[in-house]
Amino acid sequence: MKYIDGYRQGDAGKFLGKRIVENAALLADKHEPIYIMEVCGSHTMAISRFGIRDLLPPNVKLLSGPGCPVCVTDAGYIDAALSLARKDVIIATFGDMVRVPGSKKSLADVRSEGADVRICYSPAQAITLAQENPEREVVFMAIGFETTMAPVTTLIPSAEACGLTNLSLLTAFKLVPPALNALIADAEVKVDAFICPAHVSAIIGAEAYRPYVEERGVPCVVCGFEPLDILYGIDNIVSQFLNGECALVNQYSRVVTDAGNATAQKLFETFLTPVDAGWRGIGVIPMSGMGIREQYEKYDAAKRFGVSTDGGSPDPGCMCGDVLKGKIIPSDCPMFGDACTPQNPVGPCMVSSEGSCAAYFKYER
């Protein structure tokens, strides 16, 4: 706890908050308001939980990005899982996915109708499930960004080693860098700087953001999840604008290296291959996902059962796509807090513990 408390120190936080306000006042004369996108859902939650937005002056705006893995999962992917669940397959999943609505229903709905949906706290539990149920097929809902992708991918070599023939992965892995490219290229999205994810960066390395800084002129700061980490990141970005700089800064060097985690990268290379991927509310972004390599396709649930994870038709009124692109804040959605609440979520952004709508509902209504 002492370790964490150090990054929550009130005085240091107040000092940084004050400096941000002072620098932003100087910036106000020479620059339009700056829009900083926190890419990752855990940052969104931390910003809300620690009241960071409340400390910021009007010309420094925070936008939530697409970095909540549950939120960007397509309705079609959920539909595919539902169709497998109805075929008497055991669906193994992280808890957050259970209540995410597909085109019509969620896994929680089909579970109440008798489908076998098991919640796993770690991917390794899927191995145990498959071993304990040799007569049945077990499908693991393999979603996540680079961080989660690493432990989930190890299911393939583990299943090989255990000689399991009844375990497969329904993949919807996503990659952060192609999503950032798409956001920068989208003329409707206003992003001046990125607060880059903490754990994803530990895998891909801080240097992965170099092109945005050098080729696109977008300052990037890799930050940890504690309030002082985030305040430091915002402070750094504001002073970069004030001084007319554009730099890549790794504030989270206690965890993130320049090159990232070579073991995880090797694991991806061995078992996975880049694929086009659909992002809920955003659309297909080329080569922004990872699928299972052909030689391991027996572990690919979509191929094994011949289901498609594309498309689907989520509730047309849900504005998750605009929330995920930072075009609107959750409370701008007409359903926010009325038709859509954590108890009756319409979109995934209200379900996930990292979702922007959930964060706003919980802390900033």
Binding site: M1, L16, L55, Y363, E364
Partner: protein, 335 residues
């Protein structure tokens, strides 16, 4: 009775086994008052004043946890509900629903704890009931207690009494009970974190000299402080501002909550109370509470504001955010 003995279905059948169980386990511990002779109902002396009546059922899992067990918890739960209603708890009923196969020794430990806790609270167990159900139909042991108390003159309590400028006080660390039960259930931690399960009636009595300044009392159990505070401001003209820096949390509860992603404001205590009192009386109340062993960590955590209907937390770094009501059941079966 033998250490290895277990409760059988027959212990609830009304025959000889039942008689033995009642004689040896219940009457031996509680037969020194109105329960003597096992009448169908307890005959109690008349009370001069208003009566407070309350009941609560206990299904905590596991039934034994660091800092207590389902027995003393069941006494404290009802005693505390009566106490924070501004009354002196006097009498309790005790009903047990036992799963067949429960080791007799477990039952004995629980009943001993009930007696000790009742003595400590100055209440008498005056009536009760025992049922045994088939294996799988309950989980070990469920306990219900109901209690009667006598209203203490002078208190005029209720959320409508709360006024802007009043202070929110708590008697000690928040959330230890919920986190300790969670840790015991999930096999986390080393048992160092203990439940705060305890009676608060002495803390309530300590407030009686300030009765005119006390607006509201509550023991923040299920849903924690967040639920209690939101209930007060719901639909009211007032709001509450809490200061994160002044919230009392134990290091053990904080560490575990951080690890599991819980907000300790949502986690139950079973031996703490909060009160809202006038700004003028706040310091004296804290001083009084701190002079009692159960109130050594008493402190002020916030104040009543004009921000109608909202509970706001000022975080350590100076930002503000909402304190929401917990969604659904975060921690099932903690009491």
């Amino acid at each position: 009775m033998d250490e290895k003995k277990r409760i059988l279905l027959g212990h609830g059948g009304g025959g000889l086994l039942t008689r033995n169980l009642i004689d040896e386990e219940i009457l031996k511990r509680f037969g020194d008052g109105p329960l003597r002779g096992l009448p169908d109902g307890a005959l109690l002396p008349s009370i001069d004043g208003d009566i407070v009546f309350s009941t609560d059922s206990f299904v905590v899992s596991p039934g034994f946890f660091p800092g207590g067990n389902i027995g003393d918890l069941a006494v404290h739960g009802t005693v505390n509900d009566i106490a924070v209603s501004g009354a002196t708890p006097l009498w309790l009923s005790l009903a047990l629903i036992i799963e067949e196969g429960l080791p007799l020794a477990s039952l004995q430990t629980v009943l001993d704890s009930v007696r000790t806790a009742a003595d400590n609270c100055g209440v008498q167990v005056v009536t009760g009931d025992t049922k045994v159900v088939r294996k799988g139909q309950c989980d070990g042991l469920y306990v219900n207690t109901a209690g009667i108390g006598k209203k203490i003159a002078g208190f005029n309590l209720g959320s409508s009494q709360v006024q802007t400028g009043d202070r929110v006080l708590v008697s000690g660390n928040l959330g230890d009970h919920g986190m300790a039960v969670m840790a015991a259930r999930e096999g986390l931690g080393n048992g160092a974190l203990k439940s705060d399960s305890a009676p608060v009636h002495r803390l309530v009595h300590a407030l009686s000299p300030f009765a005119a300044d006390v607006r509201f009392m509550r023991d923040p159990t299920r849903g924690g402080m967040a639920a209690t505070l939101n209930e007060i401001v719901d639909g009211a003209d007032v709001g509450i501002l809490l200061r994160e820096d002044s919230l009392p949390f134990s290091a053990g509860a904080k560490g575990l909550a951080e690890m599991l992603g819980f907000d300790l404001l949502h986690v139950a205590s079973e031996g703490r109370m909060m009160c809202i009192c006038s700004a003028e009386a706040a310091e004296q109340v804290i001083e009084k509470w701190r002079s009692l062993p159960e109130g050594t960590d008493a402190c002020e955590i916030g104040r009543i504001t004009e921000d109608s209907g909202r509970v706001i937390l000022e975080t350590g770094i100076g930002g503000k955010r909402i304190v929401d009501v917990p969604q659904g059941e975060l921690l099932p079966r903690i009491c």
